[in-house]
Every structure is written in structure tokens, then in C-alpha cells.
């Protein structure tokens, strides 16, 4: 080896040592491979209580095991987008899924697989305190569930649909007249049931809420979800009339309307808000990693991931609510009974 080559290799070695000293290797970062090793207990719980949902060969989300008899909760709006779904639990593939109940308010669907003696999920009854570790699904293979980790990151609360669902046409606010007017009628494209809607029509009411400005319109849609039907009170000249419309996700009506924060958040959930109660945590999630369980350090299930809201905010339905919903469904007599 000549001297120049040796010097070059030495320089490379020194440079590499220096850069390693200033930078933490990926494996040792919060969600790195080595750090995850310490989360063995919750990882086993995640493996035990997660179902993976596939459409064809592509996994599109997770499901949370609720009951040993084969009941799983999944995210309704993601499930509905697929023509066929099969569920993998541990290494067993379940191709027949019974759709037991849909709960649009929570964006949940209860599925039942024909399995016997599935594992028993341990539920947490403790209050989830801000700052406590939580663990959920990360990348997955058919056999093995990887995990991602974070902490409970904000107050448990309802999250409304503010700005998430919109009327299926554009509108303008006239501040002087304290009124809102139809700007552009998009009825054919966007399913306005009543087509008698023209540019310049005044929007008087959405449901029972009197509309004077943007704020009152937002207020009227706060608890609504995409697909809800609303009666609008309209006025054209002296004539007042009513029309029926279906609310739409903002992205569908205004495809380029995402905020700067949305742009830096990657693949977030399409329905990401409008839940009666959520736990918020800091585990970075995508639209394909929701639906599975959220566990604490003891491996107890504290909730089910329901929304990848943004780069820094993820939501889960608290365990207590999940069980309440599940028990209510089982109590209801079946339609054919």
C-alpha cells in the first residue's frame, strides 16, 4: 500500500469517527432498532392484539383485537375504500370477515373472524398521564409486527371536524351584509341532491344554525362528518327555499387546500378528526399504520389508533370507550332475531 493511499484511508477513518461522534446512529434513535429492544413487553402485546388488514398483497391498515371470540375493531373509512379485505392475526389468515356493526361517529367497524381462543387482551384501567410511554404498530411483515414508540402528548378530549368537512360548493362571505352567498355551483360533480342552486343565492341556514359569516358556518359543521346529509335554507331574491346536500371532505372539494403543516406531515389519515373522545400521543404515524392497538409499558391496551392527524399528533380511541362501544353492540339484538 503506498503512502498516499494509507493517508487517504486514515483520513477517511478519522472523518468517519468524527461524524459518528456528532451524530446518533439510526439504531439508537427513539424509534431505532436498538432502542425498541427495551420495549419487549409491549411489543409482545402488540403482536398478540393486532390484526393486519390487506387488500390483495398490500397491507393498508391494522385492526385491534377486542375479544377472544374473534372480534376486531378497524377504521371504518379506510375499510370502506377497499373492495376486498383479509385479516392476518399472528400467522393465521382470515379471509372471511363478518361485518358485525358500523359506528360512523367513531369511524369504527366491528369485524368478526372465525377463530377460536384468540389471545385475551389486557386492558388498562389507569388514567393515561401526559408524558407516559405508549407503543403502537410500525412497519409490519406478515409474521412480525414492528413497533413505534412515543408518549401521551396532550389532554384527552373530543376533537371536532373544524374545517375538515365542507359544503359541496364554493361560497363567499359579504362582511357588510353579514351574509354568505353561493359562489360557484358544483352540484353535478359533487352530488348536490337538489340541483336548483345558482351563483349569488344566499345561504340562510345550515340545519338549524343561522349563517352570517365563516365562523357560524364552521360552527354548523363542527360535529358533522363526510357523507352527512344537511338541509340548507336558501334565498334567491325574495324567494326562500330548502335544499339537501351531502357534506364532503375538504380535500375532495378543494384538492389544493392543504395547510403548510399538512404538507410537512406526509401521508396522514383522510378522516383525521371528528371523534367524541381521543387520547393524543406523539408516535409518528401514517394513514396505513392506524387501526391497531396502543399499549403502555406493561403491555396493557390503552386505546386503538384512529387517526394520523399530523407530523406530530396522533389520536387513539381510549380503551374504556372501545369496550363500552363493543359491549353496547353485543347487547343489541341482531336484526334477524
Amino acid at each position: 500500500m503506498d503512502l498516499s493511499k494509507a493517508c487517504f484511508l486514515l483520513a477517511c477513518f478519522l472523518w468517519s469517527s468524527l461524524s459518528q461522534a456528532q451524530q446518533l446512529e439510526g439504531a439508537f434513535r427513539t424509534n431505532g432498532k436498538e432502542t425498541r429492544q427495551a420495549f419487549r413487553v409491549p411489543q409482545e402485546a402488540i403482536q398478540k392484539s393486532s390484526g393486519v388488514l390487506y387488500e390483495g398483497r398490500r397491507h393498508y391498515g391494522f385492526a385491534s383485537l377486542i375479544d377472544q371470540r374473534g372480534y376486531f375493531f378497524a377504521k371504518l373509512s379506510e375499510y370502506q375504500k377497499r373492495e376486498t379485505t383479509y385479516l392476518v392475526h399472528k400467522t393465521t389468515i382470515y379471509k372471511e370477515l363478518e361485518e358485525v356493526a358500523e359506528i360512523p361517529e367513531w369511524d369504527l367497524i366491528l369485524l368478526k373472524v372465525n377463530g377460536q381462543d384468540l389471545p385475551q387482551v389486557t386492558w388498562s384501567s389507569e388514567n393515561t398521564e401526559m408524558g407516559k410511554w405508549v407503543v403502537s404498530n410500525g412497519a409490519t411483515s406478515k409474521r412480525r409486527r414492528r413497533i413505534r414508540v412515543g408518549i401521551i402528548s396532550a389532554k384527552t378530549r373530543p376533537v371536532y371536524m373544524k374545517g375538515e368537512v365542507v359544503l359541496p360548493f364554493s361560497w363567499n362571505e359579504d362582511k357588510e351584509k353579514e351574509s354568505v352567498f353561493v359562489a360557484d355551483n358544483l352540484d353535478e360533480k359533487l352530488d348536490v341532491i337538489h340541483s336548483d342552486l345558482k351563483e349569488g343565492d344566499q345561504l340562510l341556514r345550515v340545519g338549524e344554525v343561522i349563517i352570517k359569516d365563516t365562523e357560524s358556518l364552521e360552527e354548523a359543521l363542527l360535529t358533522k362528518v363526510s357523507g352527512d346529509s344537511m338541509t340548507l335554507g336558501m334565498k334567491r331574491g325574495a324567494r326562500e327555499f330548502e335544499i339537501e346536500v351531502l357534506l364532503k371532505p375538504r380535500k375532495e372539494v378543494y384538492p389544493r387546500s392543504g395547510t403548510r403543516n399538512d404538507a410537512m406531515s406526509g401521508r396522514i389519515s383522510e378522516r383525521r378528526s371528528g371523534f367524541p373522545l381521543v387520547l393524543q400521543h406523539s408516535i409518528p404515524m401514517t394513514n396505513r399504520s392506524v387501526g391497531g392497538p396502543l399499549c403502555d409499558l406493561d403491555g396493557k391496551c390503552v386505546g386503538m389508533n384512529i387517526s394520523a392527524f399530523s407530523r406530530s399528533e396522533s389520536y387513539a380511541i381510549p380503551a374504556e370507550k372501545l369496550l363500552e362501544i363493543f359491549n353496547d353492540i353485543l347487547k343489541e339484538p341482531k336484526k334477524d332475531e
Partner: protein, 367 residues
């Protein structure tokens, strides 16, 4: 060898913290008493007070910081230690973390003194002397004004108006942070939301550069200017910017603030960007129409609606004698003086009104 020393140190720490003060006195005190100290009563008192001091000086939280030295946590016990340290300080950290609302948008900041000195980011305050609203997590509102900023590193200070005392956090020593240390981030992600409150994230320091530290705490718009804490609950950085990767979140380290501390306190605009744009000379606007007065000065004929002149109650028929330290007797003098001034700059206008001389403090607007 090193391990032995560490083990010994751990045992010593345990001794200091776990055993009652009186037993510590017996263990530590007897050898000294045996030396035949003549002032035994004084020695006993001294020893008791030393033992008490030692208990305070080596709190449990310091001992638990061993987790920072681990390449990765090894067990649930290590994770619980990190969790316990976060839980022990997060409530106080939250109390001092504020939302900042300016016309341009929202950001975050953190109070570091009972008098209400706030550390935040330059791209949040955007300038010097900016007045804005600050909100605490409970929704209570206070007025604040921006002090100096460093537009090259994104460091900025602000001051809450009103006397306080305000909740505040301790700032860490500049050299107290290393790559691999565990940290947590607080902020108002996406803006103020009273029902949600402040948002927390946990992570590690993943990179250290000259004027930036990087963590894998995923921050987002609205968090800018918010605090990054070490496991002792001490402030180690201020959120600045992110890359598309959720693991690449940049913060301004404390030493950057400390290096320019006096200049920031003196409301200096440091540097030429990119995090804040320095107002350029020639952009100042007063908003008056004037003519030369019969004696000296300029007579105000009209003030523009919404202008600095109108807001500061410069009235029609006032005679402007001087602006800053320059006397003005014709329009050209006023124009050439204003050509050297920038919008948002502070100044004084001396006017005569019905025989009385008045000094009016102004801040220039823009054209």
C-alpha cells in the same frame, strides 16, 4: 476500573439519599470526632448541616440521569426512569410555555425569569419592538414586546409586559447537552387550542452542529420558538425548523443565546437573515402632508387615515419642529431625513401646539 468507580459512586449516592440524616452523621461523623476536634458541638452541627446539604445536592433525579449515558435503554426499568424524569418536570415546564400570536401567525415561547423574559425564535417575533399577544395554556392572555433577535441563527428574546411574577423554567448550562441525551419538546403544534393544550414529544439529541442541535422530537408549524428540555426539566434549545423527515427537527442551542445575550436584551437586530428580514432604510412612513410654517418648522395640513401620525395623535395645524435630532423647516429636509429611516424604527417628533412644545414618541409605519 471505570465501572468499579461508577459502582462505588452509585453506592455513595444511594447512601446519601437512602439513609436518614442521623445515620449519615454517625457514619461520616465518627471518624472526624475521633480526630479529637475540640469544638465537638460545632462539628456535630456542621456535620448535620453538611449531611442535609448533601441530600439536597444529589437529588434522585441526578442519579437517574444514567439513562443518558446508555447507548440505548436496556430494560423497562430504564424506560420507567426516563418516564419518571419527564413526569417530574413536565408540569412546571408546561406552565412556562406560551403561545405567541402575531399578525403573521402563531408560534411558541418559554418564560425564563419571574419577570417574564421569554426565549423564542427570530422567525416567530420577526422583528424588534413588535407588540404581540401571549397566551398561557389556561387561555389567560398577556401583552408582550419582542426584544433583540439574531436573524442568522433564529434566536430571539421577548418581554412580557406587567410585573409578574410569572412561572418560569431554568436554562441549562451551555455545555450540558450531548448527542444521545433524552429530551422532550413542548409547543402549541398548529396553534393555540385550549381543549388540547400544550403538545409534548419525547426524543433524543441526534446531531450537534455549531449553531444548531437536532432531535427526533417531531415538531411542526406552531411549535416554532417552543422549548426543548433535558430530563432535569432545564431548557436546552428552542424549536427552529424541520426537514421532511420526522426525525430531523432543528433547535437553536442555548449557547447561541448566551453568546449574544446583552445584544439581544438591548433589542438589537443581529445579522441579515434568513430567519428575519431587517427593515431597509427609506421604508419609513409618517403619514402627514405638510408645508413650511411661517416661522420655523412644518405645519401639518393633513394626517393619513391609519397612519403613524394619526395613531400617535399628531394633529392638523401642529408645527413639527424636529424629527429625531434633525430640525425640519421644509419638506425636502423631512423627506431626506425619512429616506434614512426604516419602517418599525422608533423615533421622536417634536411639535408645537398652541404655544406648547410636545415630544411625541413614534414607531414608523411602511408605505
Amino acid at each position: 476500573m471505570r465501572k468499579k468507580l461508577e459502582d462505588k459512586r452509585k453506592k455513595e449516592n444511594t447512601l446519601c439519599e437512602g439513609i436518614p440524616v442521623i445515620i449519615q452523621f454517625l457514619v461520616r461523623g465518627f471518624p472526624l470526632l475521633n480526630l479529637g476536634c475540640p469544638h465537638s458541638f460545632l462539628t456535630v452541627a456542621l456535620l448535620i448541616s453538611c449531611s442535609v446539604w448533601q441530600v439536597k445536592a444529589e437529588p434522585d433525579s441526578d442519579r437517574r440521569l444514567y439513562v443518558n449515558e446508555l447507548k440505548a435503554p436496556k430494560s423497562s426499568k430504564d424506560l420507567l426512569t426516563i418516564q419518571a424524569l419527564i413526569l417530574s418536570s413536565i408540569q412546571n415546564s408546561k406552565l412556562a410555555t406560551v403561545n405567541i400570536e402575531l399578525e403573521a401567525g402563531e408560534g411558541s415561547g418559554v418564560i425564563i425569569s419571574p419577570e417574564g423574559l421569554v426565549m423564542t425564535a427570530a422567525h416567530v417575533t420577526t422583528g424588534v419592538g413588535e407588540e404581540f399577544k401571549v397566551r398561557f395554556e389556561d387561555g389567560s392572555e398577556h401583552q408582550a414586546v419582542s426584544l433583540g433577535l439574531d436573524s442568522q441563527t433564529d434566536a430571539a428574546l421577548a418581554q412580557l409586559k406587567g410585573g409578574g411574577p410569572y412561572p418560569y423554567v431554568t436554562v441549562a448550562a451551555s455545555d450540558d447537552l450531548k448527542v444521545g441525551h433524552w429530551v422532550y419538546a413542548l409547543g402549541y403544534s398548529g396553534g393555540f387550542d385550549k381543549e388540547r393544550g400544550i403538545v409534548a414529544r419525547v426524543g433524543r439529541i441526534v446531531r450537534e452542529a455549531e449553531v444548531t442541535i437536532q432531535s427526533d422530537c417531531a415538531v411542526i408549524g406552531g411549535d416554532s420558538g417552543g422549548p426543548l428540555f433535558n430530563l432535569k426539566g432545564q431548557l436546552v434549545g428552542i424549536h427552529s425548523r424541520v426537514s421532511s423527515s420526522k426525525e430531523q427537527n432543528m433547535h437553536v442551542p442555548i449557547h447561541v443565546y448566551k453568546e449574544n445575550w446583552e445584544r439581544l436584551l438591548d433589542s438589537e437586530f443581529i445579522g441579515e437573515g434568513p430567519f428575519a428580514k431587517k427593515p431597509q432604510p427609506g421604508t419609513a412612513f409618517l403619514g402627514v402632508r405638510v408645508k413650511s410654517a411661517s416661522g420655523k418648522g412644518l405645519q401639518v395640513l393633513e394626517t393619513w387615515e391609519g397612519s403613524v401620525a394619526e395613531k400617535n395623535k399628531i394633529l392638523v395645524n401642529d408645527i413639527i419642529i424636529s424629527v429625531g435630532d434633525t430640525e425640519v423647516n421644509d419638506q425636502k429636509q423631512l423627506s431626506s431625513y425619512l429616506a434614512k429611516k426604516a419602517e418599525k424604527e422608533f423615533d421622536e417628533v417634536k411639535v408645537e401646539r398652541q404655544g406648547e412644545t410636545i415630544i411625541i414618541k413614534i414607531r414608523y409605519g411602511s408605505k
